[in-house]
């Protein structure tokens, strides 16, 4: 692989209708279908599917932590460039915990009747976790 001159990872966090966050990061932690993955500089090129979960981005040169909840999507790493794509991406600061709890209850009630509900439960749980992490 070509020597990279970039000091940090360049991250693009993209939802279907907008770019949610983009910038330099020191580390990214996400959860794929097979388990948690941490991405540092120099990571091998990877393309993996994410589960509905919390993604943490450690911003470069600061203690700032960007926490978001995604509803699935995928993560691709190549040449110290990371893109995280999901149909719905929410910053933890924007999540209303009470609303997320209501969604969770509703999704849990539907759990037996529909296949989608499991996905919704995970998404709601991820949103609550993300919100709790920053508060």
């Amino acid at each position: 692989m070509a020597e990279s001159t970039v000091e940090h990872l360049h991250v693009e966090l993209v939802a279907a209708d907008r770019t949610v966050w983009s910038g330099e990061a020191a580390m990214i932690i996400a959860r794929t279908l097979e388990g948690d993955i941490g991405v540092l500089r120099g990571h091998a090129p990877t393309l993996s599917l994410l589960s509905a979960s919390v993604v943490e981005i450690q911003v470069a040169n600061s203690n700032q932590l960007v926490v978001v909840a995604v509803d699935g999507g995928f993560l691709s790493v190549a040449n110290d460039r990371v893109s995280i794509l999901a149909e719905r991406v929410e910053l933890a600061e924007d999540i209303e915990v009470s609303q997320a709890r209501i969604d969770l209850e509703e999704a849990k009630r539907l759990l037996d009747s529909s296949n989608e509900a499991e996905q919704r439960v995970r998404h709601a749980e991820a949103r609550i976790r993300a919100a709790e992490k920053v508060s």
């Binding site: 692989m1 070509a2 693009e12 993209v14 939802a15 279907a16 209708d17 907008r18 770019t19 794929t32 279908l33 097979e34 993955i37 091998a44 090129p45 990877t46 393309l47 993996s48 599917l49 699935g72 999507g73 995928f74 691709s76 190549a78 040449n79 893109s83 794509l85 149909e87």
Partner: protein, 304 residues
């Protein structure tokens, strides 16, 4: 004479209020276009990254996915028609529908039967009025499409595409007809084939030092592709909806500008006619008075 003068004034007044309305609609469309363009731009990174990822998988694994598989003997095709919900946008919706007819003729010529999926009230009305069958219609979002709607449409189309041949509601091809936004002045109705997907390996050829790296796939290339391709389809539909929305607003702005100009022209013409009528009325009154005075004078002269 005086009656028609009043009539003319009334017509001028109604034309003026019409002009106000069309002018307002023109301005609204103009301000919304900017928002629609922003939305289209904001959605571009997602489409770009997705395309990159799909071509990465396609390059490093043997692509054989139901969504990319060509049916050997295609018998049925689905056509997604994207029009507006509201009129007053000039020939916007009708030119899309004309394009649909052209495409339909071509596909029928190839011996395929057609299933129609409609987006926008105009398309729905067109099909209902002619009593032509359609499978499903989505309405109420044409000028501000959301990703959720695109996902819904995409899910329906993918479901129909994935059915086995011979099964109820199965289609072997999916086409989309929408209006591409070229610029504020030109929007052209376009027909594209959405499914089976043709995976293009990178929109622009990567330069030699920027070759796509060898990826690791997690859980596996096939599963990643499984997750990616439906999203890719939905993002393509979303893109088409956004383009259509921007085109609709541009077409509406153009149509309303023409209407405003016409109203102005009409007001000018009517004002001239009204002035003429007023002048004619005055002239007639004067000549009547003069005639009367003359008659009196003649009578007096005869008496003397």
């Amino acid at each position: 004479m005086a009656v028609s003068l009043r009539e003319y004034r009334a017509r001028i007044k109604s034309t003026e209020s019409m002009k106000k309305i069309t002018r307002a609609m023109e301005l609204i469309a103009a301000s919304r276009i900017i928002k629609a363009q922003h939305r289209a731009q904001a959605a571009a990174p997602y489409a770009r990254e997705l395309t990159r990822a799909v071509s990465a998988v396609a390059t490093y694994s043997n692509v054989d996915h139901p969504l990319t598989r060509e049916e050997e003997n295609p018998k049925r095709a689905a056509v997604l028609v994207i029009t507006s919900d509201r009129g007053l946008a000039g020939a916007y919706s009708s030119s899309v529908l004309k394009e649909v007819e052209r495409l339909a003729e071509r596909l029928r010529g190839e011996g395929k039967e057609l299933d129609f999926y409609l987006a926008g009230r105009k398309a729905e009305a067109y099909f209902k009025f002619r009593g032509r069958p359609f499978v499903q219609a989505w309405t109420g979002f044409s000028d501000q499409p959301t990703y959720d709607k695109a996902a819904e449409i995409g899910a329906a189309l993918i479901a129909a595409f994935l059915k086995e041949q011979g099964e109820e509601g199965d289609v072997d091809e999916v086409h989309v007809v929408y209006t591409r936004f070229r610029s504020m002045l030109t929007q052209e109705p376009t027909a594209i084939r959405l499914l089976p997907l043709e995976v293009v390996e990178g929109e622009e050829a990567p330069s030699s030092d920027e070759l796509l790296p060898l990826y690791e796939f997690e859980p596996s290339a096939a599963q990643v592709l499984d997750g990616l391709l439906p999203q890719y389809v939905q993002s393509r539909i979303f893109y088409a909806l956004l383009q259509a929305a921007a085109s609709e607003l541009a077409a509406r702005q153009k149509a309303m500008k023409a209407a405003t100009d016409n109203a102005e022209e009409l007001i000018k013409k009517l004002t001239r006619i009204a002035n003429q009528a007023r002048q004619a009325g005055i002239t007639q009154e004067i000549s009547e008075i003069v005639g009367g005075v003359n008659a009196l004078a003649d009578a007096q002269a005869a008496n003397d």
